[in-house]
Structure formats: structure tokens, C-alpha cells
Subunit: 196 residues, 4 copies
């Protein structure tokens, strides 16, 4: 008996996700350019032709991976939608970033490698630049609210610290004391706000 439309859709969705996951794994491990579609198809257990049935091109696979990763990050960072960052929400944001990376280090390794290359970075800026700016503005406001004498400067230092710490987590070997780094970083963020 033939399958229903829903079953077909479900199959399509699963196969597509399988290809995306496999591609992410290989791209992160060996780099986008050094990974061939043959490898992706083989490791995913599908034919090359099928992969092109789901995706227009290798580049489209990458785009979709990036988009999914971004969305997952920003959805975690929801902030009760009032546009204001409380102290708890800030801490939650920091800690949640560590958690997100720990849960999907492959993606972030790939992402880190990619934003270093201008051709890819540019197209990403077009797509995600706005959202990034919104976040920075909210952080700025938060630091002001905390009584900072130099909000702009503090924001630079704090975001540098967080970026650096996350980078360490991303590239660190598995046995790195991630939890300790998370604690020390969170705590340091508050200490770095220059109160009067």
C-alpha cells in the first residue's frame, strides 16, 4: 500500500536532517572546502543524487547549517521579550552560551572557522547583522544600569572576555575544565563593570 503524504514528508524531513548532521560533522572536522559531497553522501548512507535532491548545492547545505545554528542560539536568548536585560537574564545569557557550545561544539567550530573568511562572513553579516546589533545595544543598556562609569569600554572588555572564553571552549580538547571556566568567566564579568 502506498504511504500517506504525511509519511513521505516525515521521510523527507528525516533524510534532510541526516544529511545536514553528517555534513556538519565533516565540515567541522575537515573544513568546508576539504570535504567533498561524496564523503557526505557516503557517510550519510545515501547517494550523491539524493543529496542533490534535497539541496541545490553544497553551499546551500552550509547555509542551512549556519542558519539553523544561529536560530537555535537566538531562540535560547529570548529574554522574556521585554527588550530589557535583568541581572539574572545576563547571567543566564552567559551561562547558556557555554551550555549551547558544549552541546553543539561541532557547529561552533565550523562557525568559528567560517566567520574568518570574508566571502562567507559578508553574506552572514547581511543576514544576521541586525540581530547582533540588537543584542549589543541591550547589553550596553544593562551595563549602564549596573552603574558603569564607562559603559562602552566595559562592554568591549566583557564581550571580549566572553568571546575568548567561548573560543577556548570551542577549540579546547574534551578534558578541559569547562565548568570552571564558565564560573570564573561569569564572575569576572560582574567584577569588570567599573563602578563609581
Amino acid at each position: 500500500m502506498p504511504r500517506s503524504q504525511e509519511q513521505y514528508d516525515e521521510i523527507r524531513k528525516q533524510k534532510k536532517q541526516l544529511i545536514l548532521d553528517t555534513a556538519l560533522e565533516l565540515f567541522a572536522e575537515n573544513g568546508f572546502h576539504a570535504t567533498s559531497m561524496s564523503q557526505v553522501a557516503k557517510k550519510a548512507g545515501v547517494s550523491k543524487g539524493l543529496a542533490y535532491n534535497y539541496f541545490e548545492s553544497k553551499q546551500e547545505i552550509l547555509d542551512e547549517i549556519i542558519k539553523t545554528g544561529f536560530d537555535s542560539i537566538y531562540s535560547h536568548f529570548d529574554l522574556n521579550q521585554d527588550g530589557i536585560l535583568s541581572r539574572d537574564e545576563f547571567e543566564h545569557f552567559i551561562r547558556n552560551s557555554f551550555k549551547a557550545i558544549g552541546e553543539n561544539r561541532k557547529f561552533w567550530k565550523l562557525y568559528s572557522a567560517i566567520i574568518m573568511q570574508s566571502d562567507i562572513a559578508e553574506s552572514m553579516m547581511e543576514k544576521y547583522g541586525d540581530r547582533s546589533q540588537t543584542i549589543m545595544q541591550m547589553l550596553n543598556q544593562f551595563i549602564k544600569n549596573m552603574g558603569s562609569k564607562d559603559p562602552e569600554g566595559d562592554l568591549m572588555v566583557i564581550s571580549s572576555l566572553v568571546k575568548g572564553a567561548l573560543l577556548v571552549v570551542i577549540s579546547a580538547p574534551a578534558f578541559f575544565p569547562v565548568k570552571q571556566l564558565e564560573n570564573k568567566t561569569t564572575e569576572a564579568c560582574f567584577r569588570l563593570i567599573t563602578t563609581k
Copy 2:
């Protein structure tokens, strides 16, 4: 009559440097794998054949670029060779790192992109891993000497901060207030050492 040995040496030296500079520019901009030798040769204004007259392979060009960049950094970090880091030397190290990156941002962009790719990163670890470790040990000792209650934790946070700040400089557009970031970062480093 053929040219003298000196003349040939001079030609070789200049052309080799031209190719290295061109390759660095393109590698940094588009990535190592996405840059072809044809592009490098064309932009450098030489034939592909000549490029292979000076370098065994594309990989060797990359290796030479990396080696030169590393050496330039570590030579700046000389520390009067006594194996101990003074307060001034530490501050000089931080500030000099900002300066080095400002002077050769292309290289550091390339370097950052490269360490994210496992295939290339491994061979670099073999070559430069030792020197990195020495530096970390000296920093650890310095933080102890400054009276830290948690040297290991502080080192993690401080090196994260510096890494993050340098990363910001590397990927930031030209108009970023680098000097301010340098000052704030340096100052923050000292503040982050947890005294008893």
C-alpha cells in the same frame, strides 16, 4: 655574461617575498583551500611555473607564512631571556600583541582561520606547541607572584580575555577603537588577578 650570484640572490629574495605577500593576502581573504595557485600567481604577476620554482607546493607557502608570523611574534616577546616575567614585561607583552596584530592583521586573520581546521592545526601544534607551553608556564608563575589566590583560574580568565580582545581586533573593521580596547584590556588583566 650571466648575472652575479648576488644579483640572482636579490631577484630570488624579492620574488619569493612578493609571492609570499600575495599568498598571505589571498589566503587571509578567502581561505587557504579556496585560493588557487593560479590566483596567487596572477595577482603576483608571475607565472604559475615560477611560483613552483620558489616553493615546493602550495602547502609550503602556507608553512612559510605561518613560520614567519610566529617568529616575528615570539621575537617581540623576548623578555630579557631570564625566564621570569616582570610586571612591566607582562604589560609590554599584552600591548605588544595588540601592536603586532595591528601591524599584520592579514596574517593573524589567516592564522585564526587555520587553527580552526584540524588538518592544518595538527601539524602546527607539532611545530609550535612547545613554545606556547613555555609561555603559559611563565604567565602562570607571574600570576602567582602577583599574589593570586587562584592562579590556574585567573590564568584561564586572563588568557581568555586577551584572546577574545585580540580576536575582536583581528576581525574588526578598520574603524574600531583599537587603542581603547588595548588600554581597557591591559587594565582589566591586572584587575582580574584575585588578590587575597
Copy 3:
């Protein structure tokens, strides 16, 4: 619907053989190094890419050609597997060699050219040296059994004669009286055994 496994296997088998045959022809005619993969592909009526779909490298094509040729020769030389060469078997061996060459002169021309080149010859010695030695030992025993006063010397002369005659057949133009050479050579082999 995709083709069945059998259909794919059949396609692969035929295309692979086509490429092997074409390569043998060109290698034999112009030499291995002087023949390009483009020539092979063009003459076979396939793309270069397809050729590399079937063979890892140009060298692998040569290896497969050599292996096939060798196996076909040694399979003809079965000798009822008792390890002893009778008079009839000896004669059959000589005559069969002429026959084999006549049937596949291209291969033997290629083979002759190849064993003259040290780089290729070495890897062949590793693979086929053992079997050659076994044959020489059996021939030596045969000559002894025939009552030779100087088995070692006779073996040298006889194998030289056969080699030379086969070489003549290999390089001779088509109109050469091969059958006559075969008869005379076979007969001479027996006459050359120095009886007491």
C-alpha cells in the same frame, strides 16, 4: 527507479575493461610515460573523470594490465601441478609461449618495454619474482633429467634462445614466419642439451 545492482556491475565491468584495453594499446604503442590519461580517455570515448572513477591512478591501470597478463601466462603453464616438468610439458611450455605472445602481442611489447625501466621493474620483481624463480628451478631439474652434462650452462643458453626468439616475435612485423621460428626454436632447445 535506479538500476539494479547487477546492471551497475555490468556497466562497471565493461567500462573498466574498455579503459584497460585502450590503455594497453596506447601504452604498448607509445610507452607508459609518453601516454597521457587524456589520450586514453579520448580514445576510449570516455571522460578523464570517468577513468579516475574506475582507477585510482594511471599507475594502477598499468599494474592491473601487468597482473592480468601475467596471470594469463602462468595459468597456461599449469603442468598438472606435480612440480615436475615432463618432456611433453616442456615442449608444450615453449610452444604455448609462442602462442600466448601471438595472441596478445600488445601486452608483451608493453611488458618488454617496462622491464627495461628500473623504476617500474623493481615493483614487478617484488610481486612476480617468486613465480619466475619456481619456473627456473623446474627447468633446471628438467634439463638434469634429460641427461645434461652442464645443466646450469644449458639452462642459460636455452632460456636465452627462448627469450631471444620470443623477443623477435614480439617486435617483429606481422608478416614474420612465426610458426617456423617456433618449430626451429623448439627443436633447437632439445639439441642444445649437452648429452654425455
Copy 4:
């Protein structure tokens, strides 16, 4: 003081010979196509440019090597110029061939490899075919004079034997008992002439 014309000529001659010798060595060892002009020039201790000062092309070097080798063989085979081969002259011819190969095995290895390739073989046939035929006719007459019942057949067998034996010498490792092979072959030649 400038050198005289004779001195220049002498230098030219020596340099040219040096290049020829070096090329022969490398061609014989690695094959014509697998040897580059750079290798030849480097091993000869001259520049590439100079090599092209003496020879039009790589091919011309090969041609000259072949020509020199041939001439040296045929000059040894002088036969007192009366067009008739005596018994002693025949034996001398055989033994001299072994001697010639022993003295210049490199050349003969190269030569053997080359005649297997039709493109080169053809141009050689044009140049040296006549002389070869003359020799074959003289050998034919000699065998007749020796009382052969089947001069044509005997010639085929004898020339096969000699060719095969020489081939063995050419490709044999250094420790092969060449003198024994020479003796046995010479003796066998006479025994192979089918007397009535």
C-alpha cells in the same frame, strides 16, 4: 689572454661529451621520459641554458646517444671490409658483441628500452635499417658456407639465441657469469648450424 680557437673547440667538445654521458646515465637508469633536463644539467654541473646551447632539444640528445652507440658497434664489426664473413670473423663478432655490451651496458639498456617504443623505433629504422640488413645478409651467406641445410631457419635461431643472450647480459645484475654465457653461446651457435 684569450684562448685560441682550438682551445675553445676542445672545451666545447668536452662539455658536449659530458652532457651526453650524463644524459645516457640518467636515461638508462630512469628512462627517457622520466628524466628531466634539469636533472641532466644539474648532474653534469652545467646550467640548463648551456645544455640548450649544445643541443637543440632533449630529443636531440637522445638521438646523438643512439647514433654514437650504433657507430661504435658497427665500427667494431669491421670484417676487413671484404663483405665476406670468415669463421673467425663470425666468432669474433659474437664475442665482440658481448664485450661491447659489457663495456657500455648503460647504453644498451637504454637502447633496448627504446626500440620497444614504436615512435622512436621507426625513426631508427629509417636511419639504421640498411646497415642491419647488410649484416643479416652476410650472416646468411656465412651459414650457407658452413654447409647449412636450412640457412634461413638457422639464421633465425642463431640470431635469436644471440639476441636473447645479449638481453640477459644487458638486464642481468653485475654478478652474472657473463664470460660463461659468452662461451656457451658462441659454442652453441656453431652447434646449431644444421649440417647435412
